[in-house]
Symmetry: C3
Subunit: 362 residues, 3 copies
């Protein structure tokens, strides 16, 4: 009944009809890649919207930090499931591109669009700079950890590849440890630093936990299932539509994979809860870099044909570093207006245009 109420209120949820359509189409016409690509995108959008509503309900009851963490975890669960499927199929290049693409999309596009959308509605907005600063520093640090093997392993010969593999393993464990300590810090020992600057919640639109929690779980599974159809079809659809494979990995997969978090971050920004937006966008970028990437390295030893390492295409590391520095500069003050969003989106567009124009051989 609560769902019917939401569906009547929110026209976006009408797209939920595409969820069964995708599954039927995938069984009937598994070779219609372009159609499956568009259908799966159409099905992910309303699921993302549902996820956003559920997460906000939980977040309102647990505080923005835990709410944001929860949101980022469930959002990145999708990305983790997609990446694991690609790993199993041996598509290591796509996994690496989608890791860096997710970092760049979250810290430039998601954060930038949140600032822009929030700024168009509210003259200036505030957020907790302590939280933002901690996450920027972690993102910068994680980018460095991802940079080192590429910078040094690139020079190498036969021994270099073994060196890169050992180094990737050690750095993965180091990143996971630091990430765990960071959670201990922000959720336990120094929790008071991370309170929201502004918390005005519209109580009436919230769901009780008994509805919100199961919804979170079921919708996440549905997103994961449809994302697999999406990944299956996206590469071939891209070829048909004339996009380079770098553009697909960095931009398309990353944007669709983060659709759930984006809807939540944008909606929070419009509601002047910029703390939640920043928490979702940056928390998600940090979690991809410090949690998802190391877990994929470790998992690759078990499930992939060959183990994955942390050696990335140099250009992609430059993008991750620039994204971290840009986000740091723009969020430095704890205040935001619409032009902050324009600045981040411009950096994102610079990358997107470059990747789109890149000749196929690269």
């Amino acid at each position: 009944m609560l769902f019917l109420h939401e569906i009547r209120r929110n026209p976006l949820l009408w797209l939920l009809i595409f969820v069964p359509v995708v599954f039927v189409a995938e069984m009937r016409k598994p070779e219609a890649h372009v159609i499956l690509f568009f259908l799966s995108v159409l099905a992910i959008v309303p699921l993302a919207a549902l996820l956003s509503l559920a997460t906000e309900s939980v977040a309102a009851k647990t505080g923005d930090s835990i709410g944001g963490l929860l949101n980022a975890t469930l959002g990145n669960l999708t990305e983790l499931v997609i990446a694991l499927a690609a790993l199993r199929a041996g598509q290591i290049m796509l996994v690496k591109a989608s890791i860096v693409g997710a970092i760049v999309s979250n810290s430039l596009f998601m954060l930038g669009a949140s600032f822009l959308l929030g700024g168009l509605k509210h003259h200036t907005q505030e957020f907790n700079p302590v939280n933002a600063h901690l996450q920027m520093t972690q993102l910068f640090l994680a980018s460095i950890a991802l940079l080192v093997p590429s910078a040094i392993g690139g020079a190498g010969a036969v021994t270099a590849s073994q060196f890169t593999q050992h180094l990737s393993l050690c750095l993965s464990i180091l990143l996971l440890t630091t990430y765990g300590l960071g959670l201990l810090f922000s959720l336990k020992t120094h929790r008071e630093f991370f309170g929201s600057a502004v918390t005005e919640v519209n109580e009436e639109s919230l769901w009780p936990l008994s509805v919100a929690l199961p919804t979170l779980a079921v919708v996440t599974v549905l997103v994961a299932l449809i994302s697999e159809v999406f990944v299956d079809s996206v590469q071939k659809a891209a070829l048909t539509l004339g996009m380079s494979s770098a553009f697909v990995g960095f931009i398309v997969v990353a944007l669709v994979g983060a659709a759930a978090e984006m809807t939540a971050a944008f909606s929070a920004a419009r509601k002047n809860r910029l703390d939640l937006s920043v928490s979702i966008a940056m928390g998600s970028a940090v979690q991809i870099a410090m949690f998802v990437a190391p877990v994929l390295i470790l998992a690759s030893y078990v499930i992939a044909p060959t183990p994955m390492n942390l050696q990335f295409w140099p250009g992609s590391i430059v993008m991750a570093l620039i994204a971290a520095i840009s986000a740091t500069l723009v969020t430095n003050s704890g205040k935001s207006a619409w032009f902050n969003g324009v600045l981040l989106l411009t950096v994102y567009l610079i990358f997107a245009i470059t990747l789109y124009l890149l000749p196929p051989s690269s």
Copy 2:
């Protein structure tokens, strides 16, 4: 009469005598490059001083932000005219060097010398950090946009050069759009952020707008005319005087081209109006990167023998990025003392010494 009064008060203006001398010398002895070089520098200095007086008068009546923008526009008009002449002559290397040189000179030398000169007179000075921070972020972003084609195009073959050309065109339009939105932001929607921290103007030394505006116009034209003589002579004079062509492009052309803004910025710093200095120096650097450079790319399709792209000598992009980061670090607090100036000037000297010692083949 107002002019006679100023000329009596300000001995620098006596150098105005060199303005007609340059034109005569250029007609009589167009091959005396070293003499024309020194004469044109001597003529530009007093014109720059006049420009500074006129700009301060206008700035005092319109607020520091618009005044600074006006100043930067008219100063960079000179640089634009010089660069257009060089483009017509097909001297694309010189144009590129002078673009990066202007960014580096403004954000290191002009800003650094303003801090030093102001700091020697006033113990500590304050300026509006919001304005400075916004311009730093834009400068950093523009440097990234200029970096990307060089970083990726350098690897390339035949297709790469076409890719670089397309990319340069797209990024130029993107930069111009963001620059326009930035003006909308700082002059319209969020104007209140950009008020000065300190505004004590010595009212008696100001000109009325009816004198200041025509002076601005006439003097700018004169500067442009003499700058062309200067550019004609500087390359050959440099050879005679034993300077490398990199040093000429990055240091000499950039310093003389910005003489007008420098006089204004230094004089404002001495008068404890550091907001105006920062506004002139950083505004000018941002405008070169986000307005002049893209306009030159677009103009090169119409007036140049071959179109220009955004692929720079890698070392020059490193200099622009380091200049942006250094200026960001030093202006971070909104306070300044003489040593802030020393720090920026040291970075500038590191670049100038390196370019001066560079072997001619490079």
Copy 3:
């Protein structure tokens, strides 16, 4: 009597027994490198502790800035003496590695461990961000000066090496000049900016100046003598123990060379005098980069077989820049908690692990 009191109070000082043991062992068994290596480390630790007590006593009587400067000077005197010995022996690679290693160790390990140790005892700690910010900016600037010859000289031929040599000489003089001006600024003209944020000193544990100053002098000489034994043995001991030469230069020599300052910085952090810790750690890093390195370049013309230049292994410059940026990000707010230390130590561990795993050929 004061010494007996301290020795009874502080069990660490019992290790002073190893000071004569090192000298005896070195005379009797100069070829027992592994033993000499461990003995010299064991002897340096208590001397470092004494130095820490003496420095805190002087610092308490002269203000944290001068106290920190004094501490950094005497600590770096050790490193200077070690490096001069290595220069005399023509070991230029080791000198260069230890310079960059000292910068990285001080700004990541010493600062990070101070934040961690202080943060485990005190919930949050404050320090003067003006002082920290000035030193970060100087460190960043010095890293740039060290970067430029490597970035440009690397491309070169025969002329390039002469160019690098000239450039190194000019930049050394420039760095020394800026360093001197920085001292003038922080100790003379703008002294008031650099007062401590917190100064609660336990008066009873302080020594009078008549004891502290001679102790400082004598202990520094002893540290220098033993450090020479250490450097003599460390390379061969490292080979026996299976460490790469890069790891020895960047990590082992730098950590042991800075043992004295570390004990002082850690003890100050535990006593909630974080200003002194930051002053020691960053002041020492700046002094290595802007004072010790240029002095070694100039000295190499007199005492070394071939003059030294500022051309470093590119990876080492990347490490110095990342160290400077990481320290800037983490100290930005003037507040610290234990996780700030974890972040800096993680970056340090990333470098240490990479250097440790590096194949011997690199």
